[in-house]
Symmetry: C2
Subunit: 342 residues, 2 copies
């Protein structure tokens, strides 16, 4: 490999394309002297955005041709079968072949998951991959998984997610013994369905800092560092939070416009409101990881702007430096729940 750390960037997928993704990526090269990137896509679309970068930084950029693109609405199975020359696929192939340490895409989540599973395979002992992301919380953030890869899960899969979440919280965010909670509709032992009760029992015996059941209000309360749930509930919760943030912005805007006193206040309070909004901004937390795979794949929001996409690439850099898949494999190896059926 040409440098200590190489990241493949799917430069074509997502809503904004190379005009946003390429400059955001290149800015990170200046900050990270040991980083090099492979921009994957159509050279005629990528190269115009490289023009302003010359010399040392330009030497750490390679363009890998990929003529096709996975569309945001391509069915995952179709994308997997038909689009073998798409930028997303070529970027993941580079990862499988050991030419890069991680890969970042702002494309179609379902297609990215299907292609990554097929090309990279799962880590030993992991049944299904999961999507994990940081969620803003009181005093910092929480990590939640699964955010939508598996709409229903077995107890064993939930236990695997707990291991993956623990490693990401430790390696990417420096938490020493991340507190892990299992999402339920009550914290008493008797609550929830049989799958949750079983997972609860196994997690209590696991080599993890498992604190027990948590409820929806704990996702953002700071009570735990990792919230484990199935992909249906995780996806609904995440989108509920996005909706709450949007409604709040809307309400504040309406209230601020309501009368002259409020309009003057709005002017004076603008920097403050900006600080609060930034705290809730999902872009600050952009960069969901596909975990459980034999390789590091980071999913950016499709509509991410430059700074948000840069955050996704930063997550890839961190996970690559720490070797997250290796750490997941290690923490998983000794867990007693591996004796249980998948």
């Amino acid at each position: 490999m040409p440098a200590a750390l190489t990241i493949a960037i799917d430069a074509m997928s997502g809503d904004r394309g190379p005009a946003t993704l390429v400059p955001a990526t290149l800015d990170l090269l200046a900050e990270n002297g040991d980083l090099s990137v492979v921009l994957v896509g159509r050279p005629d679309a990528i190269e115009p955005h490289l023009a302003r970068h010359r010399g040392a930084i330009r030497d750490r950029v390679r363009v890998q041709e990929a003529p096709d693109v996975v569309a945001m609405d391509d069915p995952p199975a179709e994308a997997l079968r038909r689009k073998r020359k798409a930028s997303m696929r070529v970027a993941i192939d580079l990862l499988r072949d050991g030419e890069v340490h991680a890969c970042v895409s702002a494309g179609n989540t379902g297609a990215l998951m299907a292609i990554a599973r097929f090309v990279l395979k799962m880590l030993p002992g992991v049944d299904r991959p999961a999507i994990i992301s940081a969620i803003p919380a009181v005093g910092g953030h929480t990590h939640m998984l699964d955010l939508g890869a598996n709409s229903s899960c077995t107890a064993r899969q939930l236990c695997e997610f707990a291991v993956m979440g623990s490693v990401v919280a430790t390696d990417v965010h420096g938490l020493e013994r991340p507190r892990i909670g299992l999402l339920n509709i009550g914290t008493e032992e008797i609550k929830g369905n049989d799958t949750l009760k079983l997972a609860h029992q196994w997690l209590r015996a696991a080599a993890l800092n498992y604190v027990g059941f948590v409820e929806g209000n704990d996702i953002m309360s700071g009570a735990v560092d990792v919230v484990v749930t199935d992909g249906f509930t995780g996806n609904v919760s995440l989108k509920t939070i996005e909706g709450a943030a949007r409604m709040l912005a809307d309400t504040t805007r309406r209230e601020l416009g309501r009368n002259l006193r409020n309009r003057m206040l709005a002017l004076a309070a603008r920097p403050l409101l900006r600080d609060v909004a930034a705290r809730l901004d999902p872009g600050r937390y952009n960069g969901a990881s596909l975990v459980g795979l034999n390789g590091i794949v980071i999913k950016s929001h499709g509509g991410a702007d430059g700074p948000a996409f840069a955050n996704a690439v930063k997550t890839a850099i961190l996970e690559a430096r720490k070797g997250v898949p290796t750490q997941i494999g290690r923490l998983l190896a000794d867990q007693p729940f591996l004796e249980q059926a998948v």
Copy 2:
């Protein structure tokens, strides 16, 4: 019945007791000339709070003795079996016997649901009761159900919930053809599990204004008036919103205290912040309905203060005036999904 409208109040349950619940209820008698109330509980605990009310209003208050109380942590089955003289049970017995038009309790939700199901029975054609409440949304509010009565649901049950939600949105909030959405992790037909796909198919054929699948962000977006989901997902979403509101309040408070400029702003902006907070305050929306039962039962938050408890009683008044259970029975009667297995 002594007046046009009589409501039974479980004056003993909840975290605050008669000192909060009784004055909040009595204030509503002044506003509603045709209303009378039955306060259920220990007379020695209730009567001191009646002292300041005399004359015409006092004539519309009756105290019904009930020596026992359902505790917030009583298991529902125990409460049902052992506490036949609890204020909650006696209030629901009054409703069954036709002595009141509706009943309000701030007690243990599980016990209230179990007792109400046992004593009142279900409406014909309804398989399971559900909990519905208004949720703040852009431009107004959404109604969501089930919020926790049934942790998993069949397709037929979800269709019944859609009917109940439609009636509550129409009768309690005056919406003419409430738009109904089914909560899923995507809006495409192929998303979700088999139960959701089946419910989606039946709802499209139902005599309802069904608009299709919605996602978590639509709970507060104002895109629909009723969000239908199972009790697990509904409960997690509701508590996620509560957590988001609390985290927002915390962030704002921290930002406001951060420096002198912000502290001065905080002083000036206090009325504005109060307006925004009130908009998100669940207390403003207090009063969840237990729907599908043969009678009107309203559940207040256990910790509700006076104004919030009064909102729960107002919901009971509205549902009683409109005859919500009768309307649900009517709208349900002709639905094609009734031919399907429960």
